[in-house]
Amino acid sequence: MRLEPIANPGLGRRLGFPAAALVVTVVIASLLAAIAGADPLLTLGLVLKGAAGSKFALLETLNRATPLIFTGLAIAVAFRAKLWNIGAEAQLYAGAIVTVVLGTSVLSGMGAAALPIVGLGAMVAGAVVLLGPVVLKTRFGVDEVVTTLLFNFIMLLLVSYLLEGPMKDPMGMGWPKSAPLDRALRLPRIAEGLRLHWGFGVALIAAGLVWFVQARTTLGYEMRAVGLNPQAARFAGIPVNGVLVKTALLSGGLAALAGFSEVAGLKGHLSQDLSPGFGYTGIIVAMLALLHPLGVVVTAIFVAGIFVGADSMSRAAGVPTYIADMMLATGLLLMVLAIGLTKFRVVRG
């Protein structure tokens, strides 16, 4: 058996295989639910209801999607230039730390006007965290997969240290969490009475901007060229290393916004469970979206829906929430396979 590339895959092929992947994912998830002792159809219904069955559920899904849009964009931007940033988790926490530091000290008295400055500060922190691995890559050829991944652990330990030490909330009853952000520095709700905060709006704007950068700017053209063929890019005079550094700044900054929006929009303080792996789930989000920035919004909401829905389902049906993780993992694998099958045909012999 071998694979033969298809020059111009038809629309049926491009939609059919991903759709089939979704169906098979649902079937496998139902099987898992059945093994866990629940009625598969009922379980599925509960997931749907929990994710989008009510206004509350839907807004909860969008809230959960917000950090995933940021990390998904961060990864889509980096992967497009073949910069394998596995460290969005670290950049997220860097953004969160800076948000808390700025928001509880120097800028705490300035009111809402300081919010953009806090956001920018967070972005700079995320960018700097990714800059180290990228400079190691461009100068010494160190594999960024390893360095960015390891940075996640360094950053988690740093957060743990900060929360037990210098940043520990004196009023926190001994819990490892930071002092709360100034009320005025919290991201406002999008509408009165809705639980959805402006982080979601910023995420949508960011997705639009990333799309614009990739499709319409010189930098976007350079990033795509470097990602598709660095050898030809270098030959044509594109400064490959410079483009990688700029990509890293953008990617790290976007991931840091996830930390900013979670702290300023949702939690109000920094804790060790700020991110249940948004940085890693962002990889799934970006891959499912085929690295397209607007697709990231869609897949982030979809993935968030599965998480929120599975949470609610597990409470209602008594099925472990791990089913959500397994659904996502099977979904990703099948989608990657489906994407391959839209571009290649399996030939015998």
Partner: protein
């Protein structure tokens, strides 16, 4: 052995009118060939002549469009590498296919026994290997890791691997390209022993003296056709060189014009070697306006370094480049200095396969207005320029939007030509500009280079095809091991004389 003699012998391999087409290009055009028991055939031809395609068909990597292969009188099923191995064919690739982290014995066993049985067969395999090593003079420690072996030793392992699988027909693809002269001699000794034991050998090479020393018959391929087949005993190097040169592409008319001043001068330029490929060694070169300067040489003798240098990819380690401004030397500096660069590999270096024609057309000029202003792309202007190039340079394509990988090599090359020639460059670097193109595209590229030369550009043509060099160039240099020969005027040297320079004769070398 005479011509009538080998026909009387047992024929072990017969290729019958093998034809293989890739789009408009015919890589193998009705090639028929026979190999007798105990015979060594040398397969001569330039890059792109079709040698590799032919061997890939033999080994089942490709399926021929027409014709068939017979091994020991039985037809070989097409497109089946396993069948080729089982039929007794063994190939020693130019780039070794060994696992560095395994031992010699493990490498040789790899693929011959199921994984879970490899341990059981060790003693037997070891005995067989020792026997083969003794028979063929291929001494190598079976327990050494391949990663720790020299290049010559690795090649012995490759040969042993083929012999271990009971190959009766050995095919060696440029086996001496990576060897020292001493290692080459040892290799020839081994091959002679193999022939004495009744094996048959196809030996692919550019090097005429090796062909003369080893083969009993020489087969010459050119542009996919078999253009000559002679007994080695009845020929000499000059005749072979003449056969390789041939005269298939009608040479374009080159009217002499008086050259202008040197636009680019290299003075005593040296560059470090890149891996196995030599760097430049105190090279002096002047590219003059209105002149085509040809660079002849056997592949891997420093052409890459010279081309990379002029392209701006590498800087001189010592010596200087004159006439290119004072910017720090880089691709961008080269483009800014008015150097049009046609790279050797248009698929990997010249274009980005998944980019559209438009995105490829502005690859070198995207930072300039009107394509880019204030960091924003003007795709409308870029597309207009692409349409202009498509029309002016006769690029046959569905339009400026589709990915460039859908284009044939010739049309891809035309777009690259358009990209670099449209700005009326002062200097043109054309590295193997017609490799792998069909005849129509070849004459188009040549006529464009000549037109640029007639308009006053300094053209530097690098090619392994001596015929192309001699047909187009006003002056010729030969490169060998990073050294450049003196400048020869058009017609000053014959092909055979240049061939001797290509083989390294005439250079002043410290022993």
């Amino acid at each position: 052995m005479t011509a009538t003699d080998h026909k009387a012998q047992e024929i072990v391999l017969r290729l019958d009118r093998i034809t293989k087409r890739f789009g408009a290009l015919t890589a193998n055009d009705a090639i028929s060939l026979t190999l007798a028991r105990g015979e060594v055939i040398a397969l001569l031809g330039e890059n792109g002549a079709g040698k590799t395609t032919l061997m890939n068909i033999l080994f089942g990597q490709y399926t021929a469009d027409e014709g068939q292969v017979e091994v020991f009188g039985k037809p070989l099923p097409p497109g089946n590498p396993r069948a080729a191995l089982a039929a007794g064919l063994g190939m020693v690739h130019q780039h070794f296919t060994l696992a560095d982290n395994l031992t010699v014995l493990e490498n040789i066993q790899l693929g011959t026994v199921p994984l879970w049985r490899a341990a059981l067969g060790q003693a037997k395999a070891r005995a067989k290997l020792a026997q083969l090593a003794a028979d063929f003079g291929l001494g190598v420690d079976p327990d050494a890791r391949v990663g720790s072996l020299t290049v010559g030793e690795r090649q012995r392992v490759e040969i042993l691997k083929a012999l271990y699988r009971d190959a009766r027909i050995l095919i060696l693809d440029e086996p001496t390209a990576v060897l020292t002269p001493q290692e080459s001699d040892a290799l020839f000794d081994t091959l002679r022993r193999a022939v004495a034991k009744g094996l048959s050998i196809i030996f692919i090479s550019h090097k005429l003296h090796e062909v003369m020393a080893l083969s009993s018959r020489v087969v010459v391929l050119r542009h996919g056709k078999l253009v000559g087949e002679v007994e080695t005993a009845g020929t000499d190097r000059h005749a072979l060189a003449a056969m390789m040169v041939g005269a298939e592409v009608t040479p374009p008319a080159v009217t002499p014009i008086t050259p202008g001043p040197a636009l680019l001068t290299l003075r005593e330029v040296s560059t470090p070697s890149i891996g196995a490929a030599p760097g430049l060694n105190a090279v002096n070169l002047a590219l003059r306006a209105g002149q085509i300067t040809g660079l002849a040489g056997v592949s891997g003798n420093g052409q890459a370094a010279l081309s990379d240098l002029i392209s701006g990819l590498i800087s001189p380690q010592s010596g200087s480049l004159e006439g290119v401004g004072r910017m720090r030397w880089s691709s961008r500096a080269a483009i800014a200095a008015g150097i049009a660069r046609i790279p050797e590999d248009r698929h990997k270096t010249g274009t980005i396969a998944d980019f559209s024609l438009t995105e490829n057309a502005i690859l070198e000029t995207y930072t300039q207005a009107p394509y880019s202003r204030w960091g924003l792309m003007n795709w409308h202007a870029a597309e207009e320029q692409t349409r202009h190039l498509i029309e002016t340079y006769d690029v046959r394509c569905p339009g400026p939007h589709g990915p460039i990988r859908q284009l044939s090599g010739g049309n891809m090359q035309k777009l690259i030509l358009g990209r670099v020639l449209d700005a009326a460059p002062r200097i043109i670097l054309a590295n193997q500009p017609v490799r792998g193109l069909d005849i129509g595209a070849i004459s188009y590229v040549h006529s464009q280079l000549l037109a640029a030369r007639n308009a006053g550009a300094a053209v530097f043509l690098i090619s392994e095809d001596l015929d192309e060099i001699m047909a187009l160039s006003d002056v010729v240099h030969v490169i060998s091991e990073g050294q450049l020969s003196p400048e020869f005027q058009r017609g000053e040297k014959t092909a055979a004389e240049l061939g001797l320079w290509m083989a390294g004769q005439g250079f002043d070398r410290a022993a």
